[in-house]
């Protein structure tokens, strides 16, 4: 197996009495998009910033592209693109000026004009950073992260505050970067973002890794899938259950409202509709609901607000 792009081993980070990261280990395979999900205060940003070399691990170790982010900072920094959760530009600097400045620190930067066009930044080029909208600041920050043509990208909540169009554009760009072999590590609160973009998801809570896998793997574990349909009241649910695979349960939860619980797949849907057809029953509505990443996330991290 190739060397991981990022390797965090037993990382511990504290701020005073607060333990932000509590023995976290995770790896990121090269050429993938990896999402780190977690509630607020889970330790996502601290973990990412340790990989970026902003702070030294208090225990454990981190490696990015096989290098120690602090000892090998000089070799590592040009190869890593960073998008901070907020800020990162002079309040008085103009958007294009800031981007060109960042490009000037690199040997082979992206074509700045094409990048500006690609991210739709033409309209606010001369606007000082402090007067940019949140979404414009995010786009500038993303542009600053990729302009140096890095091997490895760390994006801390890259689409927070973006409108749907800008979010799609960002997703497309991250996908395209992956096509060129760039490894991306991103944190996000948006489950659809993680589902759409990432090859691999790490769910972090309380400074620990609590689940890890592909989106499909994570969503399926312990799945409680269901088919809900409405039809005339009083159908013989026992007879229906007999026509379905073992372990499938059917309940009439309210008059004319039925829920089928079990491993939902195309065959099960076909079996339900076939039985209904045999009874001469026309369903009014039918919903297939599979567990989403969000369900799984909430199961794992609880529903209390932090």
């Amino acid at each position: 197996m190739s060397q991981p792009a990022v390797e965090v081993t037993d990382l511990v980070m504290r701020y005073g009495d607060t333990v932000a990261v509590d023995g976290l280990s995770l790896t990121v395979e090269p050429g993938t998009v990896t999402a780190i999900l977690g509630p607020n205060g889970a330790g996502k940003t601290t973990t990412i910033e340790t990989c970026e070399g902003f702070r030294a691990p208090q225990a454990g170790s981190v490696r990015a592209l096989g290098l120690d982010p602090i000892v090998d900072a000089k070799r590592l920094r040009p190869r890593v693109g960073v998008m901070l959760q907020s800020g990162g530009a002079w309040s008085g600097s103009r958007a294009h000026e800031m981007l060109r400045h960042m490009a000037s620190l690199h040997a082979y930067p992206l074509d700045v004009d094409l990048l500006i066009e690609r991210l739709g930044m033409q309209s606010f080029g001369r606007t000082p950073y402090r007067r940019l909208s949140g979404g414009q600041q995010q786009r500038l920050s993303l542009a600053m992260a990729i302009v140096g043509r890095p091997d490895l990208l760390f994006l801390d909540e890259p689409t927070a505050g973006l409108d749907p169009q800008a979010r799609r554009a960002t997703w497309d760009l991250i996908g395209e970067l992956k096509g060129h072999g760039v490894t991306t590590v991103l944190t996000t609160h948006f489950m659809d973002e993680a589902e759409t973009l990432s090859d691999h998801v790490h769910i972090v809570d309380g400074g620990r890794l609590i689940a890890s896998g592909t989106v499909a793997e994570l969503a399926v574990v312990g799945a409680e899938d269901s088919i809900r349909f409405t039809a005339r009241a009083g159908l013989d649910v026992v007879a229906l259950m007999a026509a379905l695979p073992v372990d499938t349960k059917v309940v009439e939860v309210a008059a004319g409202s039925y829920v089928v619980n079990g491993a939902v797949d195309p065959a099960l849907v076909a079996a339900v509709t076939a039985w209904l057809a045999g009874q001469g029953v026309l369903t009014d509505t039918m919903h297939v609901r599979r567990q989403t990443l969000e369900d799984r996330f909430l199961d794992l991290t609880g529903r209390t607000l932090r």
Partner: protein
Amino acid sequence: MSLDLSPRPGAAPIATMVRHQAQMELRLLSRNGEQMLLTLVIPLVLIVLGGRSEQIVDLGPGRPMDIITPGILALAVLSTSFTSLAIATGFERRYGVIKRLGASPLPRWGLMVGKIAAIVVVEVVQLAILIGVGLALGWQPHGGAVAWIEAFCLIVLGTAAFGAMGLLIAGTLRAEATLAVANLVYVLLLVGGGLIVPLDRYPDQARHVLELLPSGALGEGLRETFAGAGADPFSFVVLIIWAVCCGLGVSRLFKWE
């Protein structure tokens, strides 16, 4: 042409990075109106008023312009290398600029060199204008070439001492506190720091304290130099000690975010 997103990492040559960094800092400084007020307008107003200063304060024996001009040059050094630098750096920390640049190929020492270069350029322009205006208003510097060389050394040391002080404050306090402290220190040193008013106009006890301040050392050193008497080596020593102590403080205590 389409955007080529394939990775091709690499740092620009260090000299290029530092040059771009200095140019960027310089552009931002020149765009900031308050900085211009501090670095040019206040010293200019004072130097113009200085010619008539005998009607306002008694600066002691000698021509008012000869007493006040070296003090104004010292004030210009204070405003740029201390106040401007501290405020700008404080807000850079607040807005994550220093943090973001810390993740770029620009090394931290390169960031500092860029800052220093920008300050030096501002000071050169500022001092050239003030010296020109001073001479036009009748300032007569004595001591010939030796005096100018001594003055140059004093200004370099003063810049180092005030700059290190400014970075120490900006690197340890919050941005708002830095703003307040930097302006307060500026006003206090301007009024009572031995910067513009000669030390022999102060009471004896006060004078012994003021001699030990970088403002007193720079102001008095420049006045003595341009009086043709040659600067007291003590002024150089005081400035060196401040520069070294604050410099060590910066290297130990400066918080990058």
